[in-house]
């Protein structure tokens, strides 16, 4: 990486849960940075954050923030991306957007590097980072798609509260303490901060992540359904999702049923998964080894286990997919895309 081009990079949403992880990864991965600009809402502007031993003052993100910025990583919510990314694109910035704002825009590539890295070059200024629960699933299923084809996916998720932000983590920990002490637990954030009804997440399972659509599916479920088809580049895959929030801090788990288009050998399936980039096979029932959210927390990889042939459909199999929703599900996937851009230029 000597004599490598260095980039002016901006992180929009620098003080958020995902922004924090992006900054940490840019440092740990030694991303080729000339200057790092940290941007946030007016409320967080002025905060000082550490990066490679220096202090960087967070500035308010405005349409003028992107002059001279070559790569910007957005994770400040869909409204901020919608408002500012077009200005960044005009300024010549390549935007990696971690919100849902542009994911289903036909002009915007939706990229999981292990699945469709080639799409990065088709960007017109914006590359969208998929939804956390989608990323880990498609990364794990890609080797099976390439080898056998996939006709159907039915997924039920076990999603961590960190997916709803730092406030949701605090709420879950506070409620847990209250319940353990026999006190009243007053929910005020989950399941959806912007909606009126609140439910206790401590010692519970809430089958709602994001708002409901008219068809009875939640927005999170529709993201998994639509984004999977787009990332795989195959509208013929049937996808069904039920997304559930459970009292876990970091790490989404997924119970996935997959129908393949061809007959398969289950040992070959395990080998394909074990050899896939970014995937770790943890699958030894005799030793009670399978992926766990607590083990995946803080790791960049996606962990797959409980791989077993379905008993009623010989072309189907079941598996358990776990990854850190803030890392591969958000910050790491975005930084991976940035690394590909840096290498290409």
């Amino acid at each position: 990486m000597s004599n490598q081009k260095l980039f002016n990079v901006a992180v929009v949403g620098a003080t958020g849960a995902v922004g924090e992880q992006i900054i940490r990864l840019l440092e740990e991965r030694n991303f080729p940075i000339k200057e790092l600009k940290l941007l946030s809402s007016a409320r967080s502007a002025g905060v000082k954050l550490a990066f490679k031993g220096q202090e960087i003052t967070v500035q308010e993100a405005t349409p003028e923030s992107f002059q001279g910025v070559e790569i910007a990583l957005f994770s400040a919510g869909g409204d901020v991306s919608k408002a500012l990314a077009p200005h960044a694109v005009k300024a010549g910035t390549i935007c990696i957007d971690n919100t849902s704002a542009y994911r289903m825009d036909p002009e915007t590539p939706l990229v999981v590097p292990e699945v469709n890295v080639d799409k990065i070059n088709e960007h017109k200024g914006i590359i969208a980072n998929p939804n956390c629960s989608t990323i880990q699933m498609v990364a794990a299923l890609k080797p099976l798609y390439d080898r056998f084809g996939i006709s159907k996916i039915i997924v039920s998720t076990y999603q961590a509260v960190s997916g709803a932000g730092a406030k949701a983590i605090n709420e879950m920990l506070r409620q847990s303490k209250e319940v353990l002490e026999g006190r009243e637990s007053n929910p005020d954030i989950l399941p959806v901060g912007s909606l009126p009804v609140k439910h206790q997440i401590a010692f519970n399972a809430i089958p709602q992540i994001d708002k409901f659509h008219e068809n009875g599916f939640t927005n999170e479920e529709m993201k998994m359904i639509l984004e999977t088809k787009k990332i795989m580049g195959d509208e013929s895959i049937d996808v069904t999702a039920t997304c559930v929030r459970i009292p876990v801090v970091y790490g989404h788990s997924e119970s996935v049923y997959v129908e393949l288009k061809e007959d398969f050998d289950i040992e070959e399936v395990k080998t394909l998964i074990a050899n896939a980039p970014g995937i770790v096979l943890v699958d030894n029932p005799a030793e009670q080894q399978y992926p766990l959210a607590t083990d995946a927390a803080g790791k960049l990889e996606t962990f797959v286990g409980r791989v077993r042939r379905d008993l009623s459909n010989p072309r189907a199999l079941n598996m358990w997919i776990v990854s850190d929703n803030l890392l591969k599900g958000a910050a790491w996937n975005a930084v991976q895309i940035a690394e590909y851009i840096a290498i290409e230029q």
Copy 2:
């Protein structure tokens, strides 16, 4: 119920989590009892338990305990049922067995009253109570089976720790406190008390309930697959299960995908479920209403919501089924069976 026949009843496993609920329900339901005998292992013998204002001393369960007992409810583990139920049957006792010992025995009816109450009369001394996660699912699906037929069920569970007994509840609460206080959490019971490897359940999701079979499914998953076919009386139903323990105290939740044999109207489906015995439809996405484990805890009913037509298979639908695993999933289903026996005699 005046002049009703009164029964000599025994509860085997009286000091356990399920036994405690059985005794409470026999009292609350005013079950027609002449004499109540409370039985347990030698270790718990001598304990005094309250029943209708009286104190009853728990006795050690032996092969001789059943003389004169007309109905016995067993929930002291499969080994106890295997050892003692045959003696009880010889003594003329009708045994309602809450363990897995006789569930798949072709001679033993496996009964969920809302589904196959007619099977009770075919007993040869023993009636088996199904697995908790199976009971609530078949109870909820029965009205759809009767109206449309069912070809396929794919279920992922979110199971409460109380299903693994009082020790597992204590472990989960203890671990939660330890994690909240930043201390080391030392698992020593879950996922399976009798197996060597232990995993943290606090703030985690463990995809193992009971031991693994050679086919990669756990025993809990095989129970759901095999018991569903037996209770429904239809071996042609394809069933796939992934059973997961989550940090909830009471109440199993289930994400269920069902393929019906005929076209259906989704509003008719909801009406059928709402009108089914023992089932409560809680399904109003606009008001963020759906079943929650914390709401189902302590209730006898099974709660169903998130009922929605599948987007890729027009004959399939998805739903969320929640019930108290110690009540409808165990004690209440057993007492229901006892009530049917009492009425028949």
